[in-house]
Amino acid sequence: MYIIVIGGGKVGYYLTKTLLAENHEVLLLEKNSARADSLAEELGEVVSRGDGCEVRTLREIGMSRANVVVAVTGDDEDNLIACQLAKREFNVPRTLARVNNPRNEEIFGLLGVDGTVSSTRIIYSLIEQEVETGEVIPLTSLMRGEIEIVEADLTAHSPVVSKALKDIHLPGDSVVAAIIRDKHIVLPSGTTTLEQGDCVIVLTRPEDEATLRALLAGKPA
């Protein structure tokens, strides 16, 4: 694959090295000449000096050949424009952007960026996972936040303990994907009965999370 990485900061640098180790063709574009020179000393021809939002530069680096463009500069607006130009001017099939302000993730999706990564949000959900027990913990989201995967540890107060799945009315489109019991994975069926200590993995929509919380953890909605 030919991957173009825009932004030669720490993220861009380590990403490029990782991709090179996997034998991909990579080009790292960095705007600042001093930084670009320093990167080129180590990485050689893989590095190009230029602005990832100047169409002329993108043409020179062969963006129309690229399979993926990853914009990882420290500025959200630069990452957005780089991804939009990649897609609309060069038909790059997949564009990925780093989002520094987690609130911009949704807007990026709305404006055509295929994938976004917000390290703030990832670290935040890791913190949530550590802090909350006996609760419904969001693990990750799919489809740009439209579907969430959540984990619920069933305690003694959980209203659904000793109930069969077919008798539990989950909100909306929610589905129990798996049950982890005594470190084994149990594939749920209608007759599976939930037990105290079960870790239930549920696919749900964000708007149904509160109702799910009430149902599984016994907290008011």
């Binding site: 100047e54 500025d75 607006e77 609130r103 911009n104």
Partner: protein, 150 residues
């Protein structure tokens, strides 16, 4: 009209002052509070300190009810991002984006944004005057607005 201007540089401050003087409801956003000093005495609108690509800042500037949004910061990408938020998230009826890069201006015009490339505009006019396609007087366009500013 209810107008929100992003960027209180030369252009933004002049536009905001002119519009506010004429009685329009103007809010102007800038990241740097010193920029607001450029506003003329005739400016009676609101000043907001903040980043124009932050949805919450745009919301408190009044984008949900705005009739028009003009992005005139020095950063093309900031102007483009803020304009798209104004158009797609807040459905502001009239959105205008000032850009320095003519190629980006053309690309985004193709994506439905009203882009104004001030550098090409200037270069085009200067060329026309040099080649005598336009008279020297053409350079004076809008200069009487200076008298309007208090």
């Amino acid at each position: 009209m209810k107008l929100v201007v992003l960027g209180c540089g030369r252009v933004g401050s002049l536009l905001a002052t002119l519009m506010s003087q004429q009685g329009h409801d103007v809010a102007i956003i800038d990241m740097n509070k010193d920029s607001f000093r450029r506003l003329g005495q005739g400016f009676h609108g609101r000043r907001l300190l903040g980043k124009g690509i932050d949805e919450e800042v745009l919301r408190s500037a009044g984008l949900p009810e705005a009739d028009a949004f003009v992005a005139v910061t020095n950063g093309d990408n900031t102007n483009l991002m803020a304009s798209q938020i104004a158009k797609e998230r807040f459905s502001v009826p009239k959105v205008i984006t000032r850009l320095a890069d003519p190629i980006r201006a053309q690309a985004y015009r193709g994506m439905g944004l009203n882009t104004f490339c001030s550098s090409l505009f200037g270069a085009g006019l200067l060329r026309a005057v040099l080649l005598e396609e336009q008279p020297l007087e053409a350079l004076k366009a809008y200069s009487d607005l200076l008298n309007e500013l208090s």
